[in-house]
């Protein structure tokens, strides 16, 4: 006897090709052991039968049926594509805008402008915390700050969207 008897787990693993390192040892044992050889043959028959597809096929026109149903679907993806294009357009406007600023007035102006914006934000915060002024008054006094914050938020959302969804309308290769 070159090996203890094979159990079900050994036989299944062998037929799955997962016992390549013990294959010769197992095959030698099978030559000597009727009991294990018989068990192996039973499993081999089952494995071979399992490779034959006995599942009923879908009707031949199944893809047509699916595509007819798809055609009735609302244009959800068109909206998605539109949003993506919008994101890309917004990002392009910001980039062109920054380029124009640099070309026309230089980066120093942009830095000063940013500093002013920051100071305005701080003052806006202080006015919100301590002022008894009415809300419309506060808003109108700080309109540039609010606009800058709004634009920054839109920019962040657009960039996030582009990063998440990839190039708008782009073709993705799907690995099946």
């Amino acid at each position: 006897m070159s090996l203890r008897h094979l159990n079900d787990e050994d036989i299944q693993a062998y037929l799955d090709g997962r016992l390549a390192h013990r294959a010769k040892q197992i095959e030698r044992h099978l030559l000597e052991c009727d009991c294990c050889r018989e068990k192996m043959e039973h499993y081999r028959a089952v494995f071979q039968a399992l490779k034959q597809d006995t599942t009923p096929s879908l009707a031949p026109g199944f893809p047509d049926r699916v595509m007819a149903a798809v055609a009735k679907e609302p244009a959800a993806k068109a909206t998605d594509s539109f949003v993506s294009w919008l994101s890309l357009a917004a990002a392009a406007i910001v980039i062109v805008g920054l380029g124009a600023v640099q070309y026309l007035v230089g980066w120093q102006w942009l830095i000063t402008f940013s500093r002013n914006i920051l100071q305005s934000v701080l003052s806006f915060k202080n006015s919100l915390m301590g002022s008894t002024e009415s809300m419309p008054g506060i808003l109108s006094d700080n309109l540039p700050v609010l606009l800058a914050c709004g634009m920054a938020m839109i920019l962040v959302v657009c960039i996030e969207h582009v990063l998440k969804h990839g190039k708008p309308g782009g073709t993705h290769t799907i690995s099946i």
Binding site: D8, E9, Q12, E38, E41, H42, Y43, A45, V46, F47, Q48, A49, L50, K51, Q52, D53, T54, T55, P56, S57, L58, A59, F62, P63, R65, V66, M67, A69, V70, A71, E73, A76, K77, A78, D80, S81, H165, P168, G169, G170, T171, H172, T173, I174, S175, I176
Partner: protein, 180 residues
């Protein structure tokens, strides 16, 4: 493709319909509703194409949709998947009785016909795993992703399912028939 190219989607339907049918047909006992469920699977995939992450194969992703759709159907119909029944607790009497069986199994085709009936009598999880492994040649990992099971559980279910099939066939036929 994700931008709404319906012709490209048709190609995906054609290439994945076999896999979807394998899962749905193994999970759903009601023959008349299987094809509708397969269609629902593809519609769900179409609606959610934007949510497909390229970190797995499309077949794995659509397999997950097929499996979840089947589970939802079973839940809605209050059908049991034999989840908590271990093979040891399952007696052959509890499985659908099949009749009349050929007295001799001399052809591989006949054996596969017999096996088809035996697979139909397996718990849905087992039948699905056996099919995905042997027919769709999926790995433990891919099957695990579709069915949300750890690799070890997939391996264990596959082992039990094949042992059950072997034992059930031996109950029906003589050893000589099986080993012809």
């Amino acid at each position: 493709m994700l931008s709404g190219d319906t012709e490209a989607f048709r190609e995906l339907v054609e290439s994945c319909q076999r896999l979807v049918a394998h899962i749905v047909y193994r999970m759903i006992p009601n023959e008349t509703e299987r094809e509708d469920i397969c269609q629902e699977v593809f519609l769900k995939a179409y609606r959610n194409l934007g949510g497909f992450k390229h970190n797995c194969k499309f077949s794995t992703w659509i397999g997950q949709i097929a499996y979840n759709t089947s589970l939802n159907y079973l839940e809605k119909k209050k059908l049991v998947l034999f989840d908590d029944i271990t093979p040891e607790e399952m007696t052959f009497d509890s499985l659908p009785a099949d009749s009349p069986w050929p007295s001799e199994v001399s052809e591989a085709k006949e054996l596969s016909e017999c096996l088809k009936k035996e697979i139909a009598g397996l718990p849905g999880h087992y039948a699905t795993i056996v099919t995905l492994y042997h027919l769709d040649e999926m790995t433990y990992d891919e099957i695990g992703k579709i069915m949300k099971l750890p690799d070890g559980t997939v391996k264990s279910y596959l082992f039990r399912a094949r042992r059950m099939l072997k034992d059930r066939l031996l109950e029906k036929y003589t050893k000589e028939d099986l080993c012809h």
